[in-house]
């Protein structure tokens, strides 16, 4: 069984809550437990936050689309924007082991996405904009 949820958001951090709600519905439909659902919410939030912060440089007048597909135990989240290219798969891994003074906060959200999701892809083209695809499979199967 396949289901798809779609929504368009303005590049405003106030939309993060609805984004987390939408992907949580999909995660639960895929049979994910509360921990996995939280992972999907966190990954979608971090990815959307990056679009607002980097692709649209914090401006609220941009728009991005979210598409969330459930296929059995698999959730696929696609985020599509028309802002500046921000390829999260090329962001340097942050220092997560050093002393307090050596820690940098940049890249932490991206690092969490890579850890929490099973697959992460990024595509960009001048015509169609930026597309980030993230996949997670629930442990329980279906």
């Amino acid at each position: 069984m396949t289901s798809t949820r779609k929504a368009t958001y303005s590049s405003d951090y106030a939309n993060l809550e609805s984004i987390r709600d939408l992907v949580a519905q999909a995660a639960r439909e895929a049979g994910m437990d509360e921990a996995e659902t939280y992972h999907v919410q966190l990954a979608a939030d971090e990815a959307a936050s990056n679009i607002i912060e980097h692709a649209y440089e914090g401006r609220a007048d941009g728009q991005f689309e979210l598409e969330c597909e459930v296929e059995g135990n698999k959730v696929t989240i696609v985020l599509h924007d028309h802002g500046k290219v921000f390829d999260i798969t090329r962001v340097r891994k942050p220092n997560v082991k050093g002393k307090l003074s050596e820690r940098e906060i940049g890249g932490l959200g991206v690092y969490l996405i890579q850890k929490l999701m099973d697959e992460v892809y990024f595509e960009s083209s001048a015509e169609s904009g930026n597309t980030l695809t993230m996949v997670k499979r629930g442990k329980r199967g279906s």
């Binding site: 993060l16 987390r20 939280y38 997560v96 082991k97 932490l108 959200g109």
Partner: protein
């Protein structure tokens, strides 16, 4: 997100409730900075009522820990960290930067 602060003899408890994300984290940062401006550097962040925290919240915690530990004037410790949030903090390598306590009372006792 809701922030309630309480003053103790040797430290201050900051209870943060609800959800901290890129939208609400600036408010959380400002609350912590305001405490530093008041000369309060020994802080317990009570997460008992916290439902969600993204890396935007982690960023605020990191900045606060740097500010509080400077000149050995204090420290930020965490109390009652919910399982999901603890897991994300661990992934980010943050659990080694903050002492964590099961409840705010034992965290207060640390100071």
């Amino acid at each position: 997100m809701e922030i309630v602060t309480k003053e103790f003899k040797h430290c201050n408890v900051v209870s943060v409730k609800g959800r901290v994300d890129s939208s609400t984290a600036p408010q959380f940062s400002q609350a912590l900075e305001a405490m530093n401006k008041n000369g309060q550097y020994k802080l317990v962040i009570d997460m008992a009522g916290l439902e969600y925290m993204s890396s935007a919240g982690f960023r605020a915690l990191l900045a606060a820990q740097r500010a509080c530990k400077r000149y050995n004037r204090g420290e930020v410790v965490l109390a009652s960290v919910p399982a999901r949030i603890r897991e994300a903090l661990e992934l980010a390598g943050f659990t080694e930067l903050f002492k964590t306590f099961d409840d705010s009372l034992s965290a207060v006792g640390h100071f």
